[in-house]
């Protein structure tokens, strides 16, 4: 059960202003990337879809039971909105995007949704950098945000531990501990994705 997520939902339902600010700041960018990959990088459409999805989600908070993470639950609502958006495009004579995000592969989706409970990706080979980037970004989005944040600060921005600690408002020791857990979760996530990709490739003629 995702007790932390249930607590966030309860705070939102009770009208907690700071909970709303944190909720939007945390989930809007992640959901935006989730949708952006599915609408051919059309930023305005992605905004519309996420806005609609979050707008509906806040009316359905009472239905969230905590069986899945709040992010997974929001993604499900966004998927419905994407379906509606594609239907709208067809009705208006606009071709729906033929870009199907890699994550929609059921294996990959399952792997993503099981994060951080799973299994090292070796990115050598013929995989396109763009596809890799999409998958790494998706994996980061599905990780607890604290994990994604510490990994990016340390390894993408190359900040020393002291600076990461200052940025996150925790001690250096806590940063090291957080980093260790985040690395493990990220490796497992990537391994799951790699496995899923290999599986889906194996199924191709």
């Amino acid at each position: 059960m995702h007790d932390d997520d249930r607590q966030i939902v309860e705070q939102l339902r009770n009208g907690d202003e700071s909970a709303f600010r944190a909720f939007f700041a945390n989930y809007f960018p992640r959901l935006y990337r989730f949708v952006l990959r599915r609408v051919g990088d059309d930023r305005e459409t992605a905004r519309d879809v996420v806005q609609a999805a979050l707008g509906k989600a806040v009316h359905k908070l009472h239905l969230y039971r905590g069986e899945a993470s709040l992010f997974t639950w929001l993604c499900q609502i966004a998927r419905h909105e994407l379906t509606d958006e594609r239907a709208r495009r067809v009705r208006h004579g606009v071709s729906p995007s033929d870009l199907v995000a890699r994550e929609e592969d059921p294996e990959i989706r399952a792997a993503l949704e099981s994060i951080p409970a799973d299994s090292s990706l070796e990115p050598e080979g013929a995989r396109q950098r763009e596809e890799l980037a999409d998958l790494v970004h998706a994996a980061l989005d599905y990780l607890p945000q604290r994990y994604a944040q510490v990994l990016e600060l340390k390894y993408l921005e190359d900040l020393p531990v002291e600076s990461v600690a200052e940025r996150l408002g925790i001690t250096g020791v806590a940063v090291q501990s957080l980093l260790a857990r985040a690395r493990t979760a990220f490796r497992e996530a990537c391994a799951s994705l790699d496995h899923a990709l290999e599986f889906s490739k194996g199924g191709e003629p």
Binding site: R13, F20, P29, D48, V58, H59, D141, E157, D158
Partner: protein, 346 residues
């Protein structure tokens, strides 16, 4: 403001993770203005949900009381419920400066960020004030000493003063907005434009991006980027021009959605600045654009004007902005190591 280009080395234990993260690059971030508008819309829905919850509890209380007392008829309950049903939310106050008169009031304190607005609301800014509103899916900036009535998510009546409309470059039905004035109405087809209404004198409309249509009693005029029109009290339609980077647009930047740069690529910030200033962006070399894509900004430019923010941000990079060509923002590598201070002086 500081930045990291992500090129320095990493410790051994994180090599594998670091390599993957760097291969992937930073996660794309939503544009600040998109995020601001979406937040206003979601916040509006959240407040509607909260209000509905409160009403539901109240209804349950009323019904219980009716059953116990056996004096309240179903009709009375129905009337109360109908009278207290959720109002039609049409917009949200995203931010404001100075006093704001909002009529009717919503009862929980006004003129503050996040206040939801219903159809029929009249909003008036004071001298030197202004506000940023989300009306439907459109961003609307209201200048000082201006007044309007929100008619619906897709229509406002500008009584006096100036408004600036930004539909995010789109014209779908969700972003439709009709601006009515004393001397005509203005509708858009995906754009940034301003409308000025001077009671008893004229309607003025000017386009910064996209297209708008102005309908007056004596004709219909279509305007594109750089075009403007004035409709006088005598119903004369006078065509004018107003360059998108003219000083007449300067008031608009005072009420721009606050731009967040922390964790975002430098290129996204430069794109925002160019659009916000009506400038055409040119990078001196493709490699410069690529560099700005890779450079991740840290810090805040809160409280700075767009021009001050550009100066502050570029001062932390090896890029420089050339604004000497009218209407153009040219970004190139700084020729020398001149450091531009935050106040813009060298």
């Amino acid at each position: 403001v500081n930045h990291s280009d992500g090129k320095a080395g990493v410790g051994n234990e994180g090599d594998e993770v670091a390599r993957l993260l760097r291969l992937a690059g930073p996660r794309p971030q939503p544009d600040t203005d998109l995020e601001t508008m979406a937040r206003a819309a979601v916040e509006r829905e959240w407040r509607v949900m909260l209000k509905q919850r409160r009403l539901l509890r109240a209804r349950r209380g009323w019904l219980a009381a009716a059953v116990i007392a056996l004096t309240v008829t179903a009709g009375v309950v129905g009337m109360r419920v109908a009278r207290n049903s959720a109002p039609a939310w049409v917009g949200t106050i995203v931010s404001n400066r100075g006093p704001l008169q909002v009529t009717p009031t919503l009862g929980h304190g006004l003129d503050s960020s996040g206040d939801a607005l219903v159809a029929g609301t009249r909003i008036q800014t004071g001298n030197g004030g202004g506000a940023l509103l989300a009306v439907g899916s459109v961003a609307l900036r209201l200048a000082g000493d201006s007044a309007l009535i929100l008619q619906s998510m897709h229509a406002v009546h500008l009584l006096k003063g100036s408004i600036y409309v930004d539909s995010g470059g789109r014209s779908d039905s969700a972003r439709a907005l009709l601006v009515e004035t004393e001397f005509g109405s203005v509708s858009h087809r995906g754009t940034q434009y301003q409308v000025q209404a001077m009671p008893g004198r004229y309607l003025f409309a000017a386009v910064r991006e996209g297209q708008v249509v102005v309908t007056a009693a004596t004709g219909v005029v279509s305007l594109a980027r750089g075009d403007a029109v004035r409709v006088t009290a005598a119903n004369e339609i006078l065509r004018e021009t107003l360059p998108p980077y003219s000083e007449a647009w300067q008031w608009v930047s005072e009420y721009a959605p606050e731009v967040s740069i922390d964790g975002r690529p430098l290129s996204a910030f430069i794109d925002w600045y160019a659009r916000e200033s009506g400038l055409t962006l040119r990078f001196v070399a493709p490699a410069t654009r690529a560099d700005s894509d890779r450079t991740i900004l840290r810090g805040t430019v809160s409280g700075l004007s767009p021009q001050q923010a550009l100066t502050a941000v570029l001062a932390t990079t090896d890029l420089d902005a050339d604004l000497t060509t009218p209407g153009e923002l040219r970004i190139g590598k700084r020729a020398d190591a001149v450091r531009i201070e935050r106040n813009g002086s060298e």
